[in-house]
Amino acid sequence: MTAEMMKVAMTTIVLADDHHLVREGLRVLLEAEPGFDVVGEAADGLEAIQLTERLQPAVLIVDLMMPNLNGLEVVRHVSQHAPAVRVIILSMHASEAYVLEALRNGVSAYVLKDSRANDLVHAVHEVGAGRRYLSPPLSERAIESYIEKAQSSSLDPYETLTNREREILHLAAQGSSAAEIATRLCLSPRTVETHRSNLMRKLGLHTQTDLIRYALRRGIIPMDE
């Protein structure tokens, strides 16, 4: 009974890493901790998924870089097909982009490979308790700031015009014909026509009226004229 209870209280773990030495080291590290039971080891992504689905461990520790299916893919699959399994990802990338991607895929903890050994043990405990864990120096705040940074900035289409295109936009808005612009800028009329159609495309304009309306709105030509 006690043994049963003991067993129930044990945290079952599956280890997935393509390096045998690393797996060995981690197993020693984890089994030294009372209440942890490493029930399976996988050498690649596919095996990790199969083992996890078969053994349904409490925790899956998976390396980010693995052959066949990388860690992120394994996480995505497991969080969909075995949502009860908590996943800890081991990574050498301290980049927030990776952390964010891992968290979005359903990872419970992101542990850096070069952090201290008991950081992983701590992470298993945290995850077992239903909390999220990130190895220092990673932090939720850093993640948030990254999300902010990665957000699409509003890009003014006018900014995407080249200087030549801006010149031609100004001249065209003032009513010059392609031939006149060509003479003025010492270009061939064909070149002018190419620039003009490029700038219309970039600005999402279709007709000469569109162009003049845009120029008025941007203040390229004065309203009162």
Binding site: Y98, D114, A150, S152, S153, T160, C186, L187, T191
Partner: protein, 883 residues
């Protein structure tokens, strides 16, 4: 006879009277003398009386018996004669009944055999050559003899002899003749034979034969003669009929074979004869012909002719005057034309038997004649007929060719006619017209010129042939006006020469692939072959819209210098460039003022009298490649043909120039490619060098330190081991950092794992940390993933651009704009640094990597632009298609 008979009977009766009276007188007296006894005398007287009666009765019997016997024989003779007569009559009748001659002959021999009661009867027909006779009909002859047996015709045989005898011949009468083997064979003893008279020679012999010797009475001979004569007449009639038939057939054949429809009419207006063609021509039904009435026939004809009244009147007039002949043409309603000839039918003795009408259908002939007349009248070819060196016939076309009216031509004298021929061509014309001597020979032909009445010269193609005209030899001549063709030929010849020249130009310029050679060839051709006094060849640069003067000849040096680099907007030949059409003028000052000014500015002014200018665009597939200016001191403007020739030349040369330029581009591309590969190898080497240095110097050093530390652990006292291990741990951590940094520098795995945006964000952070330059980053629509080659290319190009900024720009911030739509993704990297000359940077293949970036862009079908100028910063713009 009767009288003679009576006298004879009277004489007999008188003799009897006298004799009997004397007897009675004398016997009574004698008796009385001798016997006196009266009784006895009386008795004797009674006996004597009885004796007398007895003798008288005997005599009477003898007389009467003889008389009756004679009468009976006579009557028999008479009967036989009558039978023979009847037989002859039957035969004659038979012969007259138009029976065939063979049947008549058969009938004759049968009649002869029966009538003469002979075993054999025959007709021997003399063969045509007169050498023998054939048994052609016979009775009693052995089978197979009739029709085949032959007897000789010599006069020493019986039958041969008969041939030459007019009278019937009895064999017995001619004992001197040799016995005929045919007759001997049959055992014939007696023969009666007679000749059957023919037309020119005896037809043959009619014979009767018996095996028993027999005498033939004269009556029998006459009978045979009569039969022979019937046969002769039958034969003669047969011959006459055959002849008649033959003549009739001949006449009918002649009449039917005639091309004319022939009708003969008696004076009583009855149809005597009419041939089938006549019936067909007039479409006469048999019913009309059956009436034999010429009136009915006329009615039918009147319905068909175009002028019925005139037709009837003419016919009546002809019937009214039997001696007249006439010849008219008759038009029918259906358009046919009949030629009619009518003449009286008279015998040698001028007896009038009626009138004969000949009709001939001449429609086709008239149509052909009309067609020929039309042909000649309306022909564009001139036709004339010469006789005795004068024109006797000419058609209207001939009049329009020579300018003389037809009547004027007919009036021309031989000398005047000769004067029409252009003097220089006179001999040639004579040679051609000598053909007149050879009638029906091959036509002779030649070309020569004539002088029209108005003095103009026309080229004629003339063909002449000898013909007969109005029964006398003449020359028929056909004329075709060749003047236009001769002119066209001349202009074609000129055009051909020009084309040959053009061909030469094309060939010459196509030989070269490099521009200077092409242009030099063009110059040589224009200056030497086309005698262009002065000129210049410009190449058009579309991007700059400028002309560069590549070659010039015949122009002053300072002028050439001024034109070395001409913006099209200010060029004198701008019109040629823009409108892509040749510009030709005979007045430079008015039409090409720019050039006139340039020429006028020339101090020496040796070319002031140049007035003729031609500017020709050098075109290739509708694009201007350049312009050629040409100048002449001509007295006449260039012709349209010459201008078009030069224009064509411009197109040929334009294509050659385009090829040369493309070739140049290809060569430059190859050069660039070579440089690029070279740089690739270089970069690779640099990378390897860095890597090797990194591995050896940095990582190797740390590893050595680690190795040393771990070695020391074994030797150190226990209390120092922990410190040493910590040091070793530190080394390992450092090592891990270095290796990771190295790996990331080579290629961040993030680009594959997380995509472009995450990688760029990471990279900018890394970049700022290393270079101290802030990156201002704007982006739209790039959160998703793109094709790996696009992501890699953009990452590398941004990396390269930022590296350049670090290296050259000397700025504290750089702006990166990255945006994507469905079709394309674009990036701008802009700095406000010291800038550079992009053309030079692209050309030099320098370490800036600009050329490599352009290659990457081109590979992905995108565009790369650099807006930069020394001192004005730089903006690198890359656009890649996403489809």
């Amino acid at each position: 006879m009767k009288k003679l008979g009576r006298l004879l009977a009277l004489r007999v009766a008188l003799l009897y009277l006298a004799g009997a009276g004397l007897w009675i007188l004398l016997s009574d007296r004698l008796l009385a003398l001798l016997v006196a006894d009266v009784a006895l005398l009386a008795a004797l007287q009674t006996w004597k009386g009885w004796g007398f009666v007895l003798v008288t009765a005997g005599l009477l019997y003898l007389i009467l018996a003889t008389v009756f016997a004679e009468r009976e024989a006579f009557s028999q003779q008479l009967e036989a004669h009558a039978r023979r007569q009847e037989a002859v009559a039957t035969l004659r009748q038979y012969a007259l009944s138009h029976a065939a001659l063979a049947t008549v002959l058969n009938e004759a021999v049968v009649l002869v055999a029966i009538t003469l009661e002979v075993e054999y009867s025959a007709v021997f027909e003399q063969s045509a050559d007169g050498t023998g006779l054939v048994l052609c009909s016979g009775v009693g002859w052995r089978n197979g003899l009739v029709g085949t047996a032959r007897v000789p015709a010599q006069a020493d045989t019986l039958i041969g002899a008969v041939l030459h005898q007019p009278e019937p011949v009895v064999l017995a009468d001619l004992p001197t003749h040799a016995p005929d083997p045919l007759l001997v064979e049959q055992g014939i003893a007696s023969s009666l034979a007679i000749v059957i008279v023919g037309r020119e020679q005896p037809f043959g012999v009619l014979t009767a034969h018996t095996q028993q010797p027999r005498r033939f009475t004269s009556d029998e001979r006459r009978f045979l003669q009569a039969v022979a004569s019937v046969l002769a007449s039958a034969i003669s009639r047969e011959n006459a009929e055959a002849e008649l038939r033959q003549q009739k057939t001949l006449l009918e054949c002649q009449s039917e074979a005639s091309l004319d429809g022939i009708l003969a009419v008696s004076p009583e207006r009855r149809i005597l004869a009419c041939n089938q063609r006549f019936v067909t021509m007039w479409g006469l039904p048999p019913t009309v012909l059956a009436t034999h009435s010429a009136e009915r026939l006329l009615q039918r004809a009147v319905e068909q002719v175009a002028a019925p009244q005139q037709f009837v009147a003419e016919i009546e007039a002809l019937y009214a005057s039997p001696n007249r002949t006439s010849n008219e043409e008759i038009l029918l309603k259906d358009g046919r034309i009949f030629d009619r000839y009518s003449a009286p039918i008279t015998s040698a003795h001028q007896d009038y038997y009626g009138r004969v009408w000949y009709y001939r259908d001449v429609t086709e002939m008239r149509q052909t004649q009309d067609a020929y007349r039309n042909l000649v009248e309306h022909s564009l070819q001139g036709f004339a007929i010469y006789q005795d060196s004068r024109i006797v016939f000419a058609n209207p076309a001939m009049a329009s060719i020579t300018g003389y009216r037809i009547d004027e031509m007919l009036a021309l004298t031989p000398d005047e006619l000769d004067a029409l021929i252009y003097p220089a061509d006179w001999e040639q014309a004579q040679v051609c017209l000598q053909g007149r001597c050879h009638r029906n020979g091959t036509p002779s032909s030649c070309d020569y010129r004539i002088l029209r009445k108005d003095g103009a010269i026309r080229w004629l193609a003339v063909a002449s042939i000898g013909v007969a005209y109005r029964g006398r030899p003449a020359i028929q001549v056909a004329y075709v006006d060749m003047t236009e063709r001769k002119h066209a030929e001349a202009s074609l010849k000129r055009r051909n020469q020009e084309l040959a020249a053009l061909n030469m130009v094309t060939e010459a310029v196509s030989l070269f692939l490099n521009l200077p050679d092409v242009l030099a060839t063009l110059r040589v051709l224009l200056a030497d072959h086309f005698q262009v006094a002065a000129g210049s060849i410009f190449i058009y640069h579309e991007a700059e819209d400028q002309l560069s003067l590549e070659l010039a000849w015949g122009l002053p040096d300072d002028l050439v210098e001024q034109m070395r680099w001409l913006p099209v907007a200010h060029a004198h030949n701008a019109q040629v460039v823009r409108e892509q059409t040749p510009l030709s003028t005979f007045d430079i000052a008015a039409d090409v003022p720019g050039l006139a000014r340039l020429l006028a500015a020339d101090a020496a002014r040796p070319h002031a009298d140049w007035c003729c200018y031609l500017g020709v665009p050098l075109l290739a597939q509708g694009e201007t490649q350049g312009v050629v200016d040409m100048l002449w001191q001509r007295t006449t403007p260039l012709s349209a043909e010459q201008i078009s020739l030069f224009a064509t030349l411009g197109q040929q040369v334009g294509t050659a120039i385009q090829h040369a330029r493309l070739y140049e581009e290809v060569r430059a591309g190859r050069r660039q490619l070579r440089a690029l590969s070279h740089r690739l190898v270089e970069v690779q080497e640099v990378e390897r060098q860095t890597l090797a240095h990194e591995l050896h110097e940095e990582i190797g050093q740390v590893l050595s330190g680690l190795s040393l530390s771990l070695e020391l652990v074994g030797r150190l006292p226990a209390d120092q081991v922990a410190g040493r291990l910590e040091h070793a741990q530190g080394l390992v951590n450092e090592l891990m950092l270095r290796v990771r940094a190295l790996s990331l520098d080579l290629r961040p795995p993030m680009l594959d794992d997380l995509g472009l945006l995450a990688t760029l964000l990471w990279y900018f952070e890394h970049y700022t940390a290393r270079s101290g330059i802030q990156v201002q980053f704007w982006h739209t629509g790039i959160e998703g993933r793109f094709a790996p080659e696009i992501e890699t290319a953009l990452y590398r190009m941004v990396q390269e651009a930022l590296a350049n900024v670090t290296r050259y720009a000397g700025v504290a911030t750089v702006a990166v704009r990255l945006w994507a739509s469905d079709e394309r993704i674009s990036v701008h990297v802009e700095d406000a640094g010291c800038g550079f000359d992009p053309a030079a940077a692209l050309q030099s293949n320098s370490a800036s990597g600009l050329a490599a970036m352009r290659e990457r862009t081109l590979l992905l079908g995108g565009t790369l632009e650099v807006e930069a100028a020394p001192g004005q910063g730089c903006c690198l713009m890359v656009e890649l298609p996403l489809k």
